[in-house]
Structures are given as C-alpha cells and as structure tokens.
Symmetry: C2
Subunit: 323 residues, 2 copies
C-alpha cells in the first residue's frame, strides 16, 4: 500500500497513528444522495490530519476495497501498511439526515469485516508518539494504547453505544487518555449531567488532561485541566450556508486537532493550552470543509492553502476589542 511521504516544512512534526474504521456509506441528505462512497472514521481523520503531519492508519477492509479507494490515501502523506485486508466486505453504513443535521437516522449497519477487527500494528508503528484512537471497542482502544509505550500524546473518541454498554472499559480508556473529543450528547451521557461545563469537569475527573465538546453548527468548546482549575475556550461554528453532508465532520475535526498538535512536535507540551486552542480552530476548519460535499469529496480536493485561509477567517470571526 502507499508509502509514507515526507513531513511538512517548518517544525519537525510527529507522525500520527490513527486507529478506526474504513467503510462504505450510503447517505441521504436534503441536498441529495451518495451510494456506497468511501468513508469511515479513519478515512476522514487521516485526510484531515494529513494537512499537518504524516499519518499512519490501522484498520481493516474487505474485498470490495479496490485500488481506486486506495488511491485516495496514496495521494496524501498517509501510510496504509497498517490496513489489513480480510475476506468479506467492508463495514457498511446507510443513513439519512433531516434539515437539522443533528437528526440522523441510521437505515443500515453491516459490520462485515469490522465485526472481528483486532488492530494489528506493524512494529515501527508502535514507536508512534502521537496516537488517535477512534471510536472502536474501548477494550481495543486500551490494548492499542498499551502497545504504544512511546506515545506522549493520545487522543480519542467514543460513542453512545460504548458509553451505554461498556462504561467500565470506557472509563479505563479515559484514564489513559490525554485528549477526549466527543459531541455534546455523548458528553452529557458520559457524565450523567446535562450542563456541559459540569459534564466536562466530571469527564476531566475520569482522567484526560483535556476534553473538546463538539457542538455541531454551534462550534466547539475546550476544557483543560490546570491543577484544580479548569480552563475554558470557545469557538463558534463556521457560517456554512450549505451543509451538503455532515457525515465525517466530527472525524475530520479530530483529524485537524491531532494533525495540528502533531505538527508542533515536542513544542506543544510548552503552552499546551495555547496549542490546543489553535488545534480546536483547525479542527473546526476541517470539520466545516467536510460538510461541503458528499462523503470525502471536499477533503480529497482540499489544499493546505485553503485550510490556512479558513483559519484566518476564524480569526476574523472571533475577534473583538479587549476593552
């Protein structure tokens, strides 16, 4: 599969190791439909993160995954040696969105090769220092975390299914995580608390040093543990007038965040909170682009210049005088 390409110019970026799903999605939105297009959390994540740092993916695909799909990754600094090929078909999801992009109805879920997914890390992958453990069984997330003893920055995601059915494993995972990125509904469920600021405080109590709560169209908030204090950052949503397809926006957000942090190399431990703020804005940039076309269509053509231009738009949107 595709080789790893060189790091970006500037600082010495770390490589990001991402574990997650590679899937086919059939999507219906008020703007149209797409049939069996390449998707999955690791796909969106790695395309987004690859604007900042090289990425290695660990996942599993079936026999319906072809050279055409592989070419999506080959065009970017994304290493797919960790993608296992298994007999059967790729994970398949079909869903439909209403006018309110938060109202998503799942029409079909076929786990296929993903049902028995056991992440297998090539030996060199285990040296990765920046890790993103996408939304998979928390027991697997913990196992991969253990295998990467050199990791110094671990980000992760989870979802309502695991929170409801494997809450102990989710908490074990959180205890070993630096940065959790979840949406508002998941944060409420995980903390058992409606108020999102209190929910964030409780989640930080489970272990992570920081939590990002993604609020869809309303933007995102960041909570960072600082001794007994909790520091706060909020950014509004990008003013997208045409939300074509929200699928993968959250994974793209996470890719922007982890990619930016990896791009700062060791530097981001100094001024951790300040780097996290910029990372959350880059996450917002990538999440907003992901919504502009069906599936990964917009991310495929996205240039790093467009990424940085939109970041500067966020700077303007958020600015107000200090006094």
């Amino acid at each position: 599969m595709a080789g790893e390409t060189a790091a970006q110019p500037g600082a010495a970026p770390e490589t990001v190791l991402a574990v997650g799903s590679i899937a086919f999605d059939s999507i219906r939105t008020p703007r149209g439909a797409a049939e069996r297009v390449l998707g999955g959390s690791a796909t969106y994540f790695s395309l987004a993160a690859s604007h900042f740092a090289p990425v290695r993916i660990v996942g599993v695909v079936g026999e319906d995954y072809t050279a055409e799909h592989e070419a999506v990754f080959a065009g970017r600094p994304i290493c797919t040696r960790g993608v296992e090929r298994a007999p059967g078909k790729c994970f398949f999801w079909a869903g439909e969105y209403e006018d309110d992009p938060n109202n998503r109805r799942t029409l079909a879920t076929e786990l296929n090769v993903f049902a028995s997914f056991e992440p297998k890390l090539p030996a060199d992958y285990r040296q990765s220092r920046v890790l993103f453990l996408g939304n998979i069984d928390p027991a697997l997330q913990c196992r991969v975390r253990d295998e990467c003893a050199a990791a110094r920055l671990v980000g992760g995601d989870t979802m309502n299914f695991w929170i409801a059915n494997k809450s102990e494993e989710v908490k074990q995972f959180l205890a070993r995580l630096d940065l959790l990125m979840i949406n508002d509904g998941e944060a409420r469920q995980l903390a058992g608390e409606h108020n999102l600021h209190l929910a964030a405080r409780r989640i930080l109590g489970f272990g992570p040093r920081a939590v990002v709560i993604k609020r869809g169209e309303h933007g995102a908030t960041l909570y960072v543990r600082d001794g007994d204090l909790m520091r706060y950052f909020a950014i509004g949503g990008y003013p997208l007038e045409d939300v074509c397809d929200p699928t993968g926006a959250g994974d793209s957000f996470a890719g922007g965040v982890m990619g930016y942090l990896a791009s700062q190399g060791n530097g981001c431990e100094r001024d951790w909170h300040e780097h996290l703020r910029q990372a959350v804005v880059y996450g917002s940039v990538l999440g907003s682009f992901a919504c502009e076309r069906f599936g990964i269509e917009r991310l495929r053509t996205l240039t790093s210049e467009e990424v940085h231009r939109r970041y500067r738009e966020f700077v303007r949107f958020a600015h107000f005088a200090a006094a």
Copy 2:
C-alpha cells in the same frame, strides 16, 4: 416615580428608551422556585442596560405594583415616568424549566393590564435617539418607532406568537429596525429556513442592518449587512456551571447590547460592526449574570466592576493565536 440620574463617566452616552413588559413571574426550575417575583422584558432590559447608559422605560403596571417594586428601578439610572399605572393587576406569567433550559413550559399567562397596553411616551421621551422595542404587538412597535422621529439607533425583539399571527406587521417593523435580536428558534421561524446563516441573510433582507441570533448556552452570533456582503461574528457561551433560572436572560442580553451601544454615543456609527461585536459580548455578560439567581435577584446586586471583569473573562475564553 424615580428620576433620571446622571450619565456614566467617560464618553457622552445616549439615553436608551425601552418599551416592554413589567410583570410578575412564578418560576420553577430544577434549582428551586420563586413566586410572583418582579420580572418582564423591560425590567430585565433596563437593569442590564443601566450599567452603561441611562434608561427610560415605557410600560404599564397594575395595582399590585408597589413602592417596593419601584425601588428596584430607583436604585439605578432608570427613569420610570413612562410607566403607566392602570386599574387591575400586572401581567403575570408562570412557567417551569427542565434540565435543558431551552425546554420551558408555560403554566399560566394572565395579560391583565398588559392586554390593553398602549405605550404613552412623555414628550421628552420622544427625543430619545436610542430605542429598544421589546417583544410587544408589532403594530405598537411601529407606532412607537414613528413617534420617535429623532431615533438614530433602533433595536427590537419579537417572538413566535407575532411571527405566526402578525407576520405582515412584523415585516413592517423589521423594515424600520437597525438591529434585531432573537433566539435561534425564532430566527428559523421568521426566515422559514433551518440553516441559521441563511436565515440571518433572509432576515437582513427584510430590512435591519444587523441581526443577533441568541443561541442560549451555545453563545450568540452577529450578522451585519455590508453592501451585498454579510459580515459574521460568533462568541461562545459563558461557562455557567449553575444555571439557576434562565428567565430574562434574553432581555438582559438585549439590555447589555443596547446599553453598550448607547454608551458610545455618536461614536458607534463609525466602526459600527466593531462596536456591535463588543456590544454582543456585553450582552452575553449580562445574559449570563441573569441566569445565576432567580428572577432579577442577581441583576439587582450586580456591579459595573463585575460586568467589566466578566467581559475580560470573555476576552480570555475567545482568544487564540492568529497563526
């Protein structure tokens, strides 16, 4: 009733004329209950705005409004000569909030003296140059607007009832307004559009130069007409961990916005958009304080020093590096 007190130090502020309700509210929230406490849109608005500029209220009260209630305004630079006393009782509202402050259930509405309210402006009030027309019948909003020929900055509010039942009058009002402040649900209803950015664009097409969409806990966004362009500003919500009572938060927000703009006198026409951004942050400050206690309890004891301190907190919450 209470006399007008001197303007704040600094620039020469305009006086804000506010038309709206003065009411008694019975409120139940997950944090407790309050019975027949002083409320109403003009009450919250004027207490909030009075931290920035002198305020004149036009409204109507009944015989259950006593010297004790009047004392609330007398302690602030709020002139109540425009408050009419009528036979009968004050407007009364009873409601209950769930854990999600957006889920509010009305238990009782008794219009009482408010049913036949016809705003009567003392002669000197008609010279007011900054006007806020709170949520009343849009035909009355238009009438007051006409009576104040000298007004150079007109802000306004409306609600789902008027949008549904008097949409033509609402549009006539919008055509004569500078700044509309409504919540996200009202913006969607008014524009007939779910996407809030598109909704804002349509609303600006109805006439106002700017629209603020209040998003409750998620913050607020500002849209400003600039030729054929629409300029955008977003601020996240204040991280309130204990939302005691959201009643009046929107009116307090509007008071902070209009009060700040009035405090800038003529200056705010230059750099209109920049002043509006600061105004929206001050609105967020006042709205967040209003939620901290039942009814107007927190606003009564609020100091201007606390207001400016929280503004500086917003500066910190929103800051991130430009590159």
